[in-house]
Symmetry: C2
Subunit: 127 residues, 2 copies
């Protein structure tokens, strides 16, 4: 068992959840904007390392998929980082096409909850 | 039921997993570096919105906690974004103290898997 805080890990050394998945935060490498968060299993992580494109496991479709396989909006992997307890990945990519989201937005995170929600919670609208 | 792709959502409208949790990617607001990924439940999201500090649910300790409550390395919330299917948050913060990681690193993502792992997988070291 490797030292999770110090050793260089391999695919089998990561912590996967009960469904065999590890979350992957995908960032555009130069702007560092978060494009999407998706889940990888061991096979999709292996394919990502081998091909240099992002592969995931779709929980809703129960399907192994390459990002952009239908839209053409693939992601070229620049770097993959992992966290101190080895249960999460950050994947720095170059996004091809207009964006990462199925809505055609550049990023899936195109809406803001805060500070708007704080104003509502605190009743600063006078209600 | 709100339109998840277009409406401004509130705490109850998000998709939580079977344990009542939603993942939160925490980024330093100016550099956009990913500092950590943790999980919020409804209560910790409400506290985050109310206090402007980050609150999470610790899966390992089964405990509601404010980031920095013991270390003093709190996070001031600047913005919270949410994704197209409303099952993930991005929290833009200003990190107080030397960093977000319990190892005293600036970020929990201080190790790199790729491109190193790709070289190993492809045997480019001549082995």
């Amino acid at each position: 068992m490797p030292d999770r805080e110090h050793d260089l890990l391999s695919i089998e050394d990561f912590t996967y959840d009960a469904n065999g998945l590890i979350p992957a935060v995908v960032q555009q490498h130069d702007t560092r904007e978060v494009l999407m968060v998706a889940y990888m299993n061991r096979d999709s992580l292996a394919s990502t390392l081998e091909t240099g494109k992002t592969w995931f496991w779709s929980r809703s479709r129960q399907k192994y998929w390459m990002k952009g396989e239908s839209s053409g909006h693939t992601q070229d992997v620049i770097e993959i980082l992992y966290d101190c307890d080895a249960d999460c990945l950050v994947v720095l990519v170059n996004q091809n096409g207009p964006g990462a989201c199925h809505t055609n937005e550049k990023t899936c995170f195109y809406r803001r909850l805060y500070p708007e929600a704080a104003s509502l919670a605190k009743g600063t609208c006078g209600e």
